[in-house]
């Protein structure tokens, strides 16, 4: 209770007197806690709602047979049904369609055989509700050869053409017509559609007109997925729409009660013989989990950064508080308070600040989580995984974690200030104007810098050696992360020694320079070396980040160029279908189009490229099928011509660096890939460079003729057009557009434009960098300002004396600004060096281990120069205001005050 009393009488009034600083500190802690909270709150519900979505889509089924976009052959369905232990098997076709008449809208199509499917999936209370047979019914043409249609026809489709609303229990009418589609009421309302209307959809085979014959219950069941953007339709009509040649997207299996799921899955796999990838439901979460983990680790890094800022602010505040209250502490000590008592007092104060910051931070974090989860949902949607924004649930675990990080962090941050406080000598109360620390100065001050630097060097070198030698043991990625962390921590431990060396070198230079004030400023920095070193370290690390980010931009951009230029080496025009080329939601094109385009006047050739997602080791990877042209191969090593001929003769496939990295593959190994014709064993003949995109799992590159014959897929995603010399690109584009533009909703662009547009996508991935950078710079400036503020508060009396012996206000201002300038000067040098080193380390040395991709390292000089100029000027600018404040101080009051 004694401690509480002290807190009430000493700490509370002190904190109340320094409201602004307290507020800034609280804000810092709150920021860190908010980031941590938001991170946990945003991702957990997303993965949970993803699981719910997958479960809902899977219905009662527990085994899936699929193969990415390729799908599985139709005949597999019956074979699966005969496998012992299989109760029900239902097939479906899935994919996105665009709506030409409703720009911006797209629908996730679920093509099913309703009779089978209602045994697997839940369509809500009413199933397909409110079906109506529109008056135009006789004119409708059922899809030929559709078993569902003929089956329905055989049963007489009793209510067809009656014009009345039909009961939901009978899906036959709905299914009797191959162009039937059921949509959610929300979608209909928002697009001013009604049951009975037709709707145009754009799939990879071109356009189709569907008639709305039902509404889905969107409150629960399958209809509740995709935020009302689900279209339920006939499976065979959907097959045609997506150009799936006698293939289903997926077969869902309900096993018999008490049958062992694993065992049934094994039996199915034996029957399937690689024509599809058999997965128990759990396994299908993996692909999304991998994505989630990448996102989460990115954001964790940011949250961690925010936390460090918060802790730095606490550290700084407590350090200032201690130096301002040395006398008070001295009095307490002289009155009999023990060292531990002082430590406790400081720690409790910091803990209280931390706790208060936590409370604010958690509230803030919940709001942040809501915002954060939105773009994330978008990204998942791009990968064709259906997730609706999840409701954010605040769990006790998160609250405890947030509180623990905030408070423990605050205590850790306050450790050094508390230690400083404990060293305050009782005599400081009696000799109020003794030099701070004078009474307790120890001889080992200098040794500390060397010890820290030696430790830092050992850390940096040790972690590098660990990466070099030990990555086989602990894994490439982990080893590289350790190396990076070791480098950063190591360097920041070495910075204080460098700062001290800098200030010491500057000392005689400045003294001889004749600028007395600069010498005085440097002397002040030297005499509070501890504070100067910590400030400058924070400053340097933040500013080195600027240079590193510059390298990141340039490196990714150069890497992108390498990839793009190789892939589209001699291409003039790009033709694709949909909103934008290579966008995840583009629909495919039939490959005849390439041949037709090649026949146009002015075109010397056209080759097609297919980019299909297939299952591989439980993940979705890209299958890149291209019309073989050697120059498109950007090999990590090996001979282009040889590899090209091996690919085109079907001897093997190439893989990209990402795939090699993620699955530990290399040339010479044999890949086992699922295809509609069964398992394909494909020897790896080469490894090719990857683009700058680190989100995907990797790609298998093969000749498109091989792909077409094995996977039976004639769809292509883009067509590369080469022009004859002298041909006019504009008129060829116009020609293509008038002939096929409407039919396929073509998107035609020059390769230059396409490059720009793709580059923009790359830059979008880097969009989160500038805000982080801004925060880093703000921290850097804040560090300098708060440190100068502390320096000024420490020296109020000294500055008053200077005024008394004849320093003008301007000279006092100049003194403080000069101190900032010296920090900026030393900081700029160190930051440039460390930034370049860090960028090189990360992008040139460690990048293969970090993401599997050999990047084209580039460090723009412009960024170094700009960052150095900013590092030099910002502190001085930031110091100007506090400096002027100090210059205005009441000299006589400051002299009289204790």
């Amino acid at each position: 209770m004694k401690l509480l009393e002290l807190l009430r009488r000493l700490s509370v009034p002190y904190i109340a007197r320094h409201r602004l600083r307290t507020a800034v500190t609280l804000f810092g802690v709150a920021l860190g806690v908010a980031a941590m909270t938001a991170l946990r709150l945003a991702y957990e519900p997303i993965s949970r709602s993803y699981q719910i979505a997958v479960k809902r889509l899977a219905g009662r089924s527990s085994i899936q047979i699929s193969n990415g976009e390729i799908g599985v052959p139709e005949e597999l369905l019956d074979e699966v049904r005969r496998v012992p232990g299989v109760d029900v098997a239902a097939a479906s076709v899935r994919g996105y369609v665009r709506l030409p008449n409703h720009p911006g809208e797209r629908l996730y199509v679920l093509g099913v055989d309703m009779l089978d499917d209602q045994q697997v999936r839940d369509y809500g209370d009413e199933g397909v509700a409110k079906m109506s047979a529109p008056p135009a019914a006789p004119a409708e043409k059922p899809a030929a050869g559709s078993p569902a249609a003929s089956a329905a026809g055989a049963q007489g489709a009793p209510a067809s053409g009656s014009g009345k609303l039909l009961e939901v229990e009978d899906p036959l009418v709905f299914l009797a017509k191959a162009d039937s589609v059921a949509l959610s009421p929300e979608f209909l309302r928002e697009n001013h559609l009604e049951v009975g209307d037709t709707i145009e959809v754009q799939g990879s085979s071109g356009r189709a007109t569907l008639r709305i014959r039902g509404t889905l219950d969107s409150r629960r069941g399958v209809g509740s997925l995709f935020g009302g953007r689900l279209a339920l339709m006939d499976i065979f009509a959907a097959e045609k729409l997506f150009h799936l040649d006698h293939r289903f997207s997926q077969i869902d299996v309900v096993v018999k009660p008490r049958a062992d799921i694993e065992r049934v899955a094994e039996a199915i796999a034996q029957v399937a013989k690689g024509r599809g990838v058999v997965q128990a439901q759990e396994a299908s979460f993996q692909a999304a989990k991998a994505l989630l983990e990448i996102e989460e680790s990115n954001t964790t890094f940011e949250a961690f950064g925010a936390m460090v800022v918060g802790l730095y602010l606490i550290f700084n505040t407590m350090l200032i508080a201690v130096s301002q209250r040395r006398r008070e502490i001295g009095i307490l000590r002289s009155l009999g308070m023990r060292r531990w008592g002082v430590v406790k007092l400081i720690l409790v104060e910091a803990g209280a600040l931390g706790a208060l910051g936590c409370a604010v931070g958690v509230a803030f974090g919940i709001g942040l989580a809501r915002v954060m989860s939105l773009p994330f949902v978008f990204r998942l949607a791009e990968t064709r995984i259906p997730v609706a924004p999840a409701k954010i649930v605040v769990d006790v675990g998160t609250l405890v974690l947030a509180a623990a990080t905030g408070i423990v962090g605050a205590l850790v941050a306050a450790a050094i200030p508390a230690y400083e406080a404990s060293k305050v000598h009782p005599l400081e109360a009696l000799r109020p104007y003794a030099r701070p620390g004078e009474l307790t100065q120890t001889a080992d001050q200098g040794e500390r810098y060397w010890t820290a630097a030696a430790t830092g060097l050992a850390l940096a070198v040790g972690s590098f050696v660990l990466w070099l030698e030990g990555r086989r043991l602990i894994g490439e990625y982990r080893a590289a992360l350790v190396a990076m962390a070791g480098f950063l921590v190591g360097i920041s431990l070495m910075v204080p020694l460098m700062v001290r060396a800098f200030a010491r070198l500057a000392e005689p230079v400045l003294r001889r320079s004749g600028i007395a004030l600069a010498a005085l400023a440097n002397r002040a920095l030297l005499s509070h070396m501890g504070r100067t070193a910590i400030t400058t370290t924070v400053f340097v690390m933040c500013f080195s980040f600027v240079t590193e980010v510059g390298a990141a931009y340039a490196t990714l951009s150069k890497t992108f160029d390498r990839w793009f230029n190789a892939l589209f080496a001699d291409t003039d025009l790009i033709v694709s279908a949909g909103a934008a080329t290579l966008h995840p939601t583009t629909t495919g094109l039939p490959d005849e189009l390439a041949e037709q385009i090649a026949g146009l006047a002015g075109v010397s050739g056209a080759s097609a490229l297919r980019l299909a997602k297939v299952n591989f080791n439980g993940y979705l990877v890209d299958l890149v099928a291209m019309d073989a042209r050697a120059q498109n191969l950007d090999l990590v090593d090996g001979d282009r011509a040889v590899v090209a001929s091996e690919l085109s003769s079907g001897k093997g496939v190439a893989i990209d660096e990402r795939l090699a990295y993620n699955f530990g593959l290399h040339a010479g190994q044999v890949l086992m890939l699922a295809s509609p014709r069964g398992t394909v064993s494909a020897p790896i003949v080469a490894v090719v460079h990857h683009s700058e995109n680190f989100r995907d799992m990797g790609a298998v590159v093969l000749d498109r003729r091989v792909y077409r014959s094995v996977w039976g897929d004639r769809t292509v995603d883009l067509i590369e057009v080469r022009l004859k010399p002298g041909a006019d690109a504009g008129s060829v584009m116009k020609e293509i557009r008038t002939r096929w533009g409407d039919k396929y909703e073509l998107f035609i662009t020059t390769v230059g434009r396409f490059k720009q547009q793709t580059r923009r996508e790359v830059e979008r991935d880097l969009a989160e960098v500038p805000p982080i950078l801004a925060i880093a710079l703000a921290i850097a400036v804040m560090a300098v300002v708060s440190s100068l503020l502390a320096a000024v508060l420490d020296r109020i009396r000294e500055l008053a004396v200077m005024r008394a012996v004849g320093a003008t206000r301007r000279q006092i201002t100049a003194l403080i600004v000069l101190e900032a300038l010296i920090i900026g000067l030393g900081g700029a040098f160190l930051a440039a060096g460390i930034g370049v080193a860090f960028g090189y380390y990360q992008f040139a040395i460690l990048s293969r281990s970090l993401n599997g991709v050999a990047l084209v390292y580039s460090q723009p000089l412009r960024v170094i120069v700009l960052a150095s100029a900013a590092a030099l000027m910002l502190p001085a600018l930031a110091a100007y205001l506090p400096a002027r404040q100090v210059a205005r101080l009441e000299v006589s009051a400051a002299l009289a005050s204790e």
């Binding site: 104007y433 005085l520 004396v801 012996v805």
Partner: protein, 233 residues
């Protein structure tokens, strides 16, 4: 040399206002050593601060060599103080990060002189106060008496016409105190400096030529010090 006319200083306002100085008028001749005495809170330090231009009076005027200093701008006053007024404090107030020599050179440095040209003046001033061997010592390596002598050297390095000392012996034992006082008196005579010194200590007062007493901000008594009570060299 110094002419003070109806000087008033009020801190704060309203019912809580403190009248630290009330209508104080006083003259000090060139070369004179005036001792200000009076109980704690009587306004001694206030008067000295006004005299040094460290703060402005509420009303009244101070003339130094017929120059009305309250009319000066802050910058003008600062430069004037730097060159013409030396100040010695009770608590030495040396800059802890500077050596003795640098502390003494500080006013010269602030005036734009280089360390090269300032150093010989600082060294010779330190020699005069008997600290020729302490040039490179930091304040925390000096005894109280030594520190105060450094402060005196600093106050005199510009060879000012006025030396102001606010209880310069308040923080010293009697032996050190006497040493400091005789340094002040001797150097003041040597340079012809006018001295105004505040003190509680009657023995310190004996070093002066004349005493002015303050009570509650008012000048209550002025008088010369009888020769027989004057401290001897």
């Amino acid at each position: 040399m110094i002419r003070i006319e109806k000087l008033c200083k009020v801190y704060g306002s309203g019912p809580t206002a403190i009248h630290a100085l009330k209508d104080v008028s006083l003259e000090v001749r060139r070369g004179e050593f005036l001792v200000l005495m009076g109980p704690s809170g009587s306004g001694k330090s206030t008067l000295l601060h006004l005299l040094a231009g460290l703060e402005a009076p509420t009303s009244g005027e101070i003339y130094l060599d017929e120059m009305p200093i309250t009319k000066m701008s802050d910058d003008q006053m600062t430069v004037f103080r730097r060159r013409h007024i030396g100040f010695v404090f009770q608590f030495f107030n040396l800059l802890p990060t500077l050596s003795a020599e640098e502390n003494v050179a500080l006013p010269l440095l602030l005036d734009g002189q280089s360390m090269k040209s300032a150093r010989p003046k600082a060294v010779s001033m330190l020699e005069r106060v008997g600290l020729g061997r302490r040039l490179n010592h930091r304040p925390d390596e000096l005894s109280g008496g030594e520190a105060q002598r450094v402060a005196i050297a600093r106050a005199l390095v510009f060879e000012p016409s006025l030396l102001i000392a606010d209880e310069p012996t308040g923080n010293l034992d009697s032996r050190n105190g006497e040493e400091v006082l005789s340094v002040i008196r001797d150097l003041a005579r040597q340079f012809g400096v006018t001295v105004v010194m505040a003190t509680h200590d009657p023995r310190a007062a004996e070093y002066g030529d004349r005493i002015a007493r303050l009570r509650d901000g008012e000048l209550v008594e002025e008088g010369t010090i009888p020769v027989e009570r004057k401290a001897v060299r």
